[in-house]
């Protein structure tokens, strides 16, 4: 099922959390060879995981991570504005209706269905929160994945070659993309909406002493 979880609530899903950060290490460090930090537990975290992002996670029936992506509003700190302004023609992309989507990750062996489910999650977020665009840091593989999903990513700027190649790109979920995405994911819209409501109604409450 699709889960929408804020960083501060991941503690309620320890298995899902740990397998997600391990799968991220496997994908970004081992398979893609990115310059990311992997801790002693074999998990990949960065500074944006520390500022309470919203994760969309595909949870497998055994409770482990099947795939995920991470969202932050561009009015706060984002990877694109903090590190990649040279790829956006110097434009600091900033709006409550444009969110950054990063760390798109698939667990080893995840199929097209998981990719479609994550795309669907991004689409629901876009619709429910009136977003206009997503901005993200892409590698060529991600561009292919988004294109396969019919999302027509638009790359603003690129740098580097081969393994080092990254770009900043835009994408959005149009209404007409929902139907084929639902079909690829094997999920009906009603189920998708129910997952969304389950996540945002009665949100998990952090340890109250921590913030008082």
């Amino acid at each position: 099922m699709l889960r929408y979880i804020y960083g501060q609530d991941l503690c309620h899903f320890p298995l899902l959390r740990d397998t997600m950060f391990r799968d991220r290490a496997d994908q970004f460090k081992r398979r893609l060879g990115w310059d990311v930090h992997v801790n002693a537990a074999g998990e990949e975290h960065d500074e944006y995981d520390e500022i309470n992002p919203l994760y969309v996670i595909w949870q497998k029936p055994d409770g482990t991570h099947g795939g995920s992506m991470r969202f932050l509003p561009t009015t706060g700190n984002t990877m694109v504005n903090d590190h990649f302004l040279f790829l956006t023609d110097g434009v600091r992309i900033e709006s409550p209706f444009i969110w950054e989507c990063t760390r798109f990750c698939l667990a080893p062996g995840a199929d097209r269905q998981v990719t479609a489910a994550l795309t669907l999650g991004a689409g629901e977020i876009m619709e429910e929160f009136h977003l206009k665009h997503f901005v993200g840091v892409f590698d060529p593989r991600m561009e292919r994945i988004y294109s396969l999903m019919g999302l027509k990513p638009d790359v603003l700027g690129r740098s580097g070659e081969g393994r080092e190649a990254v770009g900043v790109g835009l994408w959005e979920m149009h209404e007409e993309v929902f139907a084929p995405t639902l079909e690829k994911a094997g999920i009906d819209r009603e189920t998708s909406k129910r997952w969304f409501r389950d996540a945002f109604d009665h949100p998990y409450v952090e340890d109250q002493r921590a913030i008082a």
């Binding site: 009015t75 434009v91 009136h130 206009k132 665009h133 901005v135 835009l170 959005e172």
Partner: protein, 237 residues
């Protein structure tokens, strides 16, 4: 109402003192014809500030009872960035129920909607609206205004950020050269397609530049953004 909210954004943009910030919350309450509006923010060093229309009895009561430690609205919104209808929050505990009754007795209203906002470097704020209404009426109100209120909330937040950094000269919004070019072409009457072709970028990229400029200019929509850019002297046509 679109025009009124657009005018209201300009009221916020002209706020230069804490008292006028307070008056702006009253102005928004009256404009929307609801019971209360409260804006409350935590700056990057963790200090809290608030402005709003709650009675001083309720504010004192809130502090005296230390509701900060259990307010479900605060816990449901803290450090998040997705708005909540209070109905969505967890009011099941005994303490939460008692708090809700106390708030009702102090005229807060039986419905609420809170927009948590995130600024740079850990800055965080909440814009809260409350009212007496049925669930249906309140949901209709939210559906009608949620997008506009997100814009209004960010305009309040820009003021909060400027109060936090009094050393910075408030010279108003600035746009990057690409945003300026995009808004200039739209102001000259180019269609999006023509403007994108002129700038040798895709229409999608152009729309992102325009949206980013709209936010920086504190405008309700593209037309308003063009008008703001012209009146601020940021573009010349």
């Amino acid at each position: 109402m679109a025009t009124e909210l657009q005018d209201f954004l300009e009221v916020i943009q002209q706020v230069d003192t804490f008292e006028r910030f307070q008056e702006a919350t009253v102005g928004l309450r009256d404009l929307l014809n609801i019971t209360h509006v409260v804006y409350h923010w935590v700056n990057s060093v963790g200090e809290r500030f608030g402005a709003g229309t709650y009675s001083s009895e309720w504010v004192d009561r809130y502090l005296e009872k230390d509701y900060l430690r259990m307010d479900p609205v605060l816990f449901g919104c803290f450090q998040r960035f997705t708005p909540v209808n209070w109905k969505q929050l967890d009011w099941s505990s005994k303490a939460a129920k008692a708090f809700f009754r106390d708030a009702l007795d102090h005229g807060v209203g039986n419905q609420g909607y809170t927009i948590p906002l995130r600024g740079p470097n850990g800055q965080f704020a909440l814009l809260t609206l409350s009212h007496n209404a049925t669930d249906d009426q309140w949901e209709r109100f939210i559906t009608r205004y949620e997008r506009d209120l997100m814009i209004v909330a960010h305009e309040f937040n820009k003021k909060a950020l400027s109060f936090d950094a009094p050393g910075d000269v408030q010279s108003g919004p600035t746009l990057s050269p690409r945003e300026t070019a995009a808004i200039t072409l739209i102001a000259k009457g180019f269609s999006r397609g023509q403007a994108a072709a002129e700038m040798r970028i895709s229409e999608h990229t152009l729309r992102v530049y325009i949206e980013s400029a709209r936010h920086k200019l504190g405008a309700m929509n593209t037309t308003h953004a063009v008008a703001r850019a012209l009146s601020l002297g940021l573009i010349i046509i």
